[in-house]
Every structure is written in structure tokens, then in C-alpha cells.
Symmetry: C2
Subunit: 144 residues, 2 copies
DNA sequence: CTCACAGTTTAGAATTATTCTAAACTAGTT
DNA sequence: AACTAGTTTAGAATAATTCTAAACTGTGAG
């Protein structure tokens, strides 16, 4: 077995550890979803797309559980919710500081690394308010 | 009558002109909604909030028409849709280049003038795509 | 000024994403 | 093996938004 190869049993063990560290009981559903989500980096999913994907992989998880899990993972800091479309919520496996390209027509999100874009001149918020974070969305279209 | 005072009849006439210029037939509903929206500057409304407001002003307009009108005004460039909340859509009467503070908990949007924030380093979009616009949302919380 | 019709409004039904509910299940302990 | 708190689930419920098809109204022609 090659050094970079990680069999699914190993992945499962790692995933269970990760869930435990986040205070989440490693149920079958959570392990399956987490394995899928965190196998590769920088994934962007919607509840629907993730449910489709895991269902097609032959794993039975209800849509309600997918919603619950996405929110729990988000609360635990394993995911980040991305609000770019009025119609649906996206979740990003990249929780670090970064921004996005968004192609609305196709529901396509693409990460822009955190150091790439610099935002200067953010004014002081009105009294009583504090900046939580600054989101930049670069909306793109198919070129003409 | 003071020089800056604009009676409602004058407002109506101006509004009708504005709608005509945008290729929108000045129906009673559209004139009423436009008068309300563009009387003051920098308003942020949701379909629901605008419907409430106009209803309380004693004007009868259906919620469906409010939705239609908001979208038509947006298409005509009289409004700009602001996507900051997964739960509802905001519309902004300020269509120029500018950004926003957003206080999610209270659904509060505050304009940041266009020259205030500088965004540098936006990378080239992937081949075949062109930047449509860059949105910056400064998410704020009540200070601790 | 009146007609005719394309465009508009509307109530209510339909749709869509998401959340809720309460009953059945299961991981982790004892 | 039994217990229990936390979890999953199907299906109902909710909320924002869109659709539908019937009634209504600007507006340009005559």
C-alpha cells in the first residue's frame, strides 16, 4: 500500500476521532457524511446536493438528518455557511479565511484563497456593533 | 410653500415620469410603491416589510404585486437586490456602487458608501468567466 | 371620447427550501 | 444485557416566493 493511500477503514477511524473532538457522537450518518465531505478539500455543497450524493453512494440518510448535520458541523466549526444565493444555502468545507467566486446561473462556488484579496477601509461600525467578519463575493458571469 | 417642499401630487407626477422612462406602465400600484420607495434615499426593504408599510399607509396592494414590482424595479435598475440572509431577500434603493454592514440578528442593513472600501487583488476569474461585480458584506454583531 | 387589447393585478393555490414533531433507534455506560 | 441521553426519521408544518387564470386598467387608435 502506497504511503499516501488511505483506505476507507482508516478514513472512518480518523473521521470518528474528528467528530469526537468536536463533541459530536459519531453516529453512522455523521461518519458517512463527514467522510464524504472531508475526503477532499474545498468542497461546496447544499443540503440537497449532499443528500443526493450520499444516497447515490448507497448510504441511507434522511434529508432532515443532512440538514441537522450540516448545521451541527457548522456550529462545531467543521463547515462554514456561505450566503450568496437567495434560493439555497451552501456549506463550505474550507473554514479558513477566504473568499468566493460565485456563478449564480450554475450555482457554482469557487474558493479564492484568503491572502489573495485585500479589503481596506472598512469603516467603524455604528456604536454598539462590532465587526464579526467581512465577506467578499465576486459574482461572475459566462463571458460574452 | 417652502422651496424644498414637494407635495404628494408633484411626487406622483415625477414618479410617473420615472416609471415611464424605465418602460414600466405607471399603474396605481407601481406609482404608490415607487413613491414610497424613492421618497427618501437609501432604503432597504423586504417584500414583506414593504407590503406592511404600504398597507399601513392605507393603500391596497397584494403581496404578489409587491414581489412582482420589486423584481421589475430591480430589472429596470431602480433597485438592487442584496443577498445577505438565507431567510429573506432585501432590496436597496441605492443602486450605485456601495457596500453594506449587516446585522443578521435584527435584519438590519446599513449602507457603506462606494468610495469607502477598497478591494484589491481580485484574481482573474476562471477561463470563460467575467467579473460581474464584487460584493462586500461586513457582518456585525451587537458588541459584547 | 370610447373601444379594444396588451399588460397588470389579484386571490388563492402551488412550489421550494427548510424546520419541526414525536416516535423509533442507537452509542456509550453501567 | 439493560438503560438512557442523544440521534434519526418520515411526514407534517412553516415561510418565503412563485404561479395561475380570471378580473381589471392604461393607453393608443379611431
Amino acid at each position: 500500500m502506497g504511503k499516501a493511500v488511505r483506505d476507507s477503514k482508516t478514513l472512518t477511524v480518523l473521521t470518528i476521532g474528528r467528530l469526537r473532538q468536536s463533541g459530536l457522537r459519531p453516529t453512522r450518518q455523521r461518519v458517512e457524511l463527514a467522510s464524504l465531505l472531508f475526503r477532499d478539500h474545498d468542497r461546496h455543497v447544499t443540503a440537497e446536493s449532499l443528500h443526493d450524493e450520499i444516497t447515490k453512494a448507497g448510504v441511507k440518510v434522511s434529508l432532515a438528518t443532512v440538514y441537522n448535520t450540516l448545521h451541527q458541523f457548522t456550529q462545531a466549526g467543521l463547515l462554514r455557511q456561505v450566503i450568496v444565493d437567495a434560493a439555497r444555502s451552501y456549506f463550505d468545507t474550507n473554514t479558513g479565511d477566504h473568499q468566493h467566486f460565485f456563478l449564480e446561473k450554475e450555482g457554482l462556488l469557487i474558493d479564492i484563497p484568503g491572502e489573495t484579496i485585500a479589503v481596506a477601509g472598512v469603516p467603524m461600525p455604528p456604536p454598539g456593533l462590532a465587526v464579526d467578519r467581512v465577506d467578499v463575493v465576486v459574482r461572475v458571469k459566462r463571458a460574452p
